[in-house]
Symmetry: C2
């Protein structure tokens, strides 16, 4: 390990974000089930932009203002007043190409705005859908990284930690990793990677239970499948867009 | 798993403690390197009581008031004005038997006081030194449990998570575990248990580096050894004492 290589940290919950100086960091927002998986898939399917907002009311307001599609769920149902839900399957290319989506989610959006308020140098979106692209980008960029897990109402969750572990495993030789949470995530990923769906099931993961309770096991399977949409969503001027140049 | 069995949660950092209702719970304070290991060892060696305090100044004040031994470190050195450090090796039976120790530590003491302020039903001390006794007690008691990791300045650490994982692995069949952090801890422990010292070394654990930097690898080895002091320290009336009856 080269001591001059940039630092990489993993933050397992938004409630721990204040512990990290991110003013010079690329922050990877991780909300595997399902916000960041859906964002990545939707942009890969040709959406022009995604505007992440905190509340259903704001989603409705902005949706009207710019005549965009509104989306968001509460307790596994499309929220009242919105048009679509949080599933990546709702946004195929023939529907979403060229359109703008206003999306409200509970944990991922909150974390993104927290990272913004805390002065993150750059905010990108990570999911298994774009795992390799995220890793390649972080390595090429060569700047400090915070892998930021959205968790569930601030409680550490398995799926976001697994993705952080996957990134740590793939990029660690290019970074200085003085971070126990990264080691922990990497260990769990090494254990789970052969069958992540089954791992979540046997570990009684809270989100596994929540989504399968809503009949959404196909969503979970999709969100744990690596490299189905290798693009890089980046946050700029209030919107998430597909980064077209990596330089 | 019996749905009527009491709930068990793992809290990986004091900064996440507010997420858990502990008003009916036994809270296990975990600060493996080295506060809870030293507390357990010292009480097992016959100390009358240990008074945990937040600051060096308070440690000196109370030490004088009750003519007790004062102990605490800052940055790996005995803190100015105190008599002893945080190592379990400093408190053999021939020295500590019958005496009271006033102890200040950074992370463990803070967490203990937070749990107290939050109205914990009962506070006990967990370390690998008393692993089996802690597990037996939690099972016999049959009440809700929070495994509370002291972490390092609120950052999740490997050694406290390992201990939480060891407890989860041993007691889970008696509890309802709807908690991703517990699954994560258990997975890491399963991976590490064959050689926890080497696991900490290969994962570049921050505390491993800190303590070996101070020449304290023997302390780490000792603190990772299970069942060297199978007693149960319990917090009562401002003091930690050895619980003599388990009923």
């Amino acid at each position: 390990m080269d001591n001059k290589s940039p630092e990489l940290y993993t933050c397992l919950s938004p409630a721990l974000l204040h512990l990290y100086d991110i003013s010079n960091s690329t922050v990877v927002i991780i909300d595997i089930l399902r916000a960041t998986s859906t964002i990545t898939t939707t942009l890969n399917n040709g959406a022009k932009a995604i505007i992440p907002v905190d509340s259903v009311a704001e989603c409705i307001r902005i949706g009207k203002q710019i005549a965009a599609i509104t989306a968001g769920e509460r307790d596994g149902q499309i929220a009242e007043g919105l048009q679509y839900g949080n599933s990546p399957f709702e946004y195929p290319r023939e529907f979403i190409s060229g359109k703008t989506l206003v999306l409200t989610t509970t944990n991922g959006t909150k974390l993104l705005h927290m990272a913004l308020d805390k002065g993150a140098k750059e905010i990108i979106i990570g999911s298994f859908c774009n795992l390799d692209t995220v890793c390649d980008y972080l390595i090429k960029k060569g700047k400090p990284v915070l892998l930021a897990c959205a968790a569930w109402k601030d409680k550490v969750n398995i799926e976001d930690t697994l993705f952080a572990g996957a990134v740590v495993q793939k990029v660690k030789e290019y970074f200085t990793v003085n971070c126990d949470a990264s080691g922990l995530a990497e260990t769990m990923y090494a254990d789970a990677r052969g069958d992540m769906l089954n791992f979540m099931k046997t570990k009684n993961a809270s989100h596994y239970k929540r989504l399968t309770g809503y009949g959404l096991i196909k969503d979970i399977e999709f969100c744990l499948t690596p490299n189905t949409a290798n693009i890089l969503p980046v946050y700029t001027d209030g919107k998430l867009i597909k980064k077209t140049s990596f330089t």
